[in-house]
């Protein structure tokens, strides 16, 4: 296919964006929301991998591009795995427990899109660690 106009080029650009949108670009910095998914042995056996992929799919559907999903290690809450921590810049980090695949949509819609914490799933821990 030949590119015949600037608009056609921009269309190709839109379609190609998913190839690079995981990467840190030079001029987009700062306000990235982070979703940290606990991916240690206990997390994985409780379904963290499915949870993580579900987040990726939700993000992809919503076309929001300032969220990154990062697999992290165990934080010691093995009884409540899978654990998911949401870091929004300038806000206290929120930790959710028992986030199976089916809970992802609720967290995504309420917390990440509308800014309200899903209280009944929050694990009550203090982040002010030494």
């Amino acid at each position: 296919m030949k590119v015949k106009s600037l608009d056609e080029l921009k269309k190709i650009r839109e379609e190609s964006l998913e190839k690079v949108n995981l990467r840190e670009k030079g001029d987009v910095k700062g306000d990235k929301v982070e979703i940290l998914v606990g991916m240690s042995t206990c997390g994985i056996s409780s379904g963290a991998r499915e949870t993580l992929t579900e987040f990726i799919e939700e993000i992809d559907k919503s076309k929001i591009n300032n969220i990154k999903v990062v697999p992290v290690g165990c934080i010691g809450y093995c009884h409540s795995e899978p654990t998911v921590q949401v870091n929004i810049p300038g806000q206290k980090p929120i930790l959710y427990g028992n986030v199976k695949k089916d809970k992802v949509h609720e967290i995504f819609e309420k917390h990440l899109q509308n800014g309200e914490v899903v209280e009944n799933m929050v694990l009550d821990i203090d982040f002010e660690r030494a």
Partner: protein, 551 residues
């Protein structure tokens, strides 16, 4: 499960490939597949990250974790620990040489903090063999904008106002060069990309072509449109096989999308690019010699004028620009000349890529705004001198430049300030020497290089460099007298003043500058002078020096 969540960026520059990064990438892919994660994690070979000292480099996105010195055997840990379990592999993280702290993120490293990447903007970020990744980051929009929204004069004006100067070494304003070529009346014109990077220790152009070949292709098309050329030539040395193969792939992809070829963007502008291989002669970086070599003649320079802009390739007006110069063009067109000229110093705008080499901790490729001081480059970005030794001098401009000593380290670098302290910008090689290096030997090394590379067309270059080298050899073997030093100095100025082209006009520069700054080291070799300095550690090494003098 079908969504990619991780990109594993493996450096595919020549430096990292030489230390087995290809195998690292293969192993990563194999293990990812074995663990059943091939949908979630993609391995991507990218261009040079610049941090060649620490190669092979593997960067995990979006986690933004930067692993260094990754061997093929480390692939298992990266997959099992990082990709599967989300734990950083601590032992592969970068350790800052001064405070032993491990650092995971690229932007936290001293090496990257002071850098500003324009020419290298996509190196290490995209897969150079995928045109869609280049387009995803705004690629070819500058060409589209130029062809559909700007007149040829406007393109030239934009480049002229940006203040961009030739990055190959001379520093001639690019916009002015384009304007001169554009104003020539001729049916046929050419635009040539000079990728004959010959300075020992310089690898900026190679890395740009390896990491982001499309930026050069796009810029050549923009330049072709501006000056009225429908044919471009990339003159590249055959010693750069990887750059050549990536460039070929890129040209093919551009043709498929109609970004090279007839009626680009449905305009009446047609443009295509050919590749010509050079045999790796230093003099072919000089534009008239380069054009001769393109025509299949001996790579020897011609007298200027006429300049190539007037009579170049097969007698037609020809515009020759360097790779790095071209890489700066697309951002200038999309972001505007004002943005570009806001970076840098009064007379030198934008950024410059330097290849750091020699006795420096962080050997690699760095891009900094003009006006950054040498001290910042060598001590902050470069991490200081290897082994805690003392800094002695830095050679900029390769064999055409001169040494710069400690007292000038705080000079903000641009084209003019470097000339005023007896060196030059050159193409961007920066070779750092420590206290154990002998400066006479350094001068001899460069003269041996220029003697070999002098094409032989003019007597001053052919015989002059040979005699200079012979005198230097006599000095370092301890057989010279004060009269030889006088002869060396006199001959240096003679060669400088009477050679035909830039190669030999600048060849004596290493001698002139080392004689100026390190006269005592020359004296140390002279047999009719009693002096105690020579190569090696200075204090307590007197015996060794004496031996060397007698030898």
């Amino acid at each position: 499960m079908s969504k990619t969540r991780t990109n594993i960026m493996v450096c595919g520059g020549t430096g990292c490939l030489a230390s087995d990064s290809e195998k690292v990438a293969k192993n990563l892919e194999l293990i990812i597949k074995a663990r059943g994660y091939e949908e979630e994690a993609k391995v991507i070979q990218t261009g040079c990250f610049g941090f060649c000292e620490q190669g092979p480099i593997v960067k995990i996105e979006p986690d933004n974790v930067f692993y260094v010195r990754v061997g093929p055997k480390d692939a298992k840990d990266i997959v099992d620990e990082h990709i599967v379990k989300g734990r950083k592999v601590e032992r592969l993280l970068y350790k800052e040489p001064h405070h032993n702290k491990k650092i995971g993120k690229q932007e936290d490293m001293e090496f990257y903090k002071k850098q500003l990447r324009i020419a290298l903007r996509n190196c290490g970020l995209i897969n150079p063999e995928d045109i869609y990744e280049y387009i995803a980051l705004g690629g070819y929009e500058a060409l589209g904008k130029a062809l559909t929204q700007m007149s040829r004069d406007e393109v030239v004006k934009e480049v002229k106002e940006s203040g961009l100067r030739g990055r190959g070494g001379g520093g001639f304003p690019t916009g002015v060069k384009w304007e001169i070529t554009k104003s020539q009346e001729s049916e046929v014109k050419f635009i040539i990309c000079n990728a004959d990077e010959g300075d020992p220790g310089a690898f900026m152009d190679r890395s740009i072509l390896e990491g982001d070949p499309h930026s050069v292709i796009e810029a050549m098309a923009i330049g072709g449109y501006a000056i009225g050329a429908d044919k471009g030539i990339v003159y590249i040395r055959a010693e750069y096989p990887l750059a050549i193969s990536r460039l070929k792939t890129a040209i093919k992809q551009s043709r498929e999308l109609g970004l090279l070829g007839k009626n680009i963007f449905d305009s009446d502008f047609s443009f295509d690019i050919d590749i010509k291989f050079g045999a790796g002669a230093f003099v072919c970086g000089e534009e008239t010699a380069l054009i001769n070599s393109c025509e299949g003649k001996r790579g020897e320079p011609d007298f200027k004028p006429p300049f190539p802009a007037q009579e170049g390739y097969w007698g037609h007006p020809t515009n020759v620009n360097n790779v790095e110069t071209f890489a700066n063009i697309p951002p200038i067109i999309t972001k505007g000349s004002e943005w570009f000229s806001s970076i840098g110093t009064e007379k030198s705008k934008g950024t410059k890529v330097f290849a750091l080499a020699g006795k420096i901790n962080n050997v690699g490729l760095v891009e900094v705004p003009m006006g950054t001081t040498l001290r910042e480059i060598i001590f902050d970005i470069g991490g200081g001198i290897q082994g805690g030794k003392k800094f002695k001098a830095v050679q900029t401009g390769g064999p055409s430049g001169g040494v710069i000593t400690e007292e000038y380290l705080d000079t903000p670098i641009d084209y003019d300030s470097l000339l005023s302290i007896g060196s030059m910008m050159g193409s961007g090689g920066m070779i750092v020497m420590d206290e154990t290096d002998n400066m006479v030997n350094i001068a001899k090394f460069y003269l041996e290089f220029t003697m070999d590379e002098a094409c032989g067309k003019c007597a001053a270059g052919r015989i002059g460099t040979k005699r200079l080298y012979e005198i230097l050899n006599k000095i370092t073997s301890g057989k010279a007298t004060m009269a030889d030093l006088d002869a060396l100095k006199q001959l240096s100025y003679m060669v400088k003043g009477s050679s035909l082209c830039g190669l030999c006009q600048t060849a004596p520069n290493p001698i002139i500058s080392t004689m100026k700054h390190f006269w005592d080291e020359y004296l140390a070799f002279i047999k009719d002078v009693d002096h105690s300095q020579g190569e090696g550690e200075y204090d307590g090494a007197k015996n060794k020096d004496n031996l060397m003098l007698k030898a």
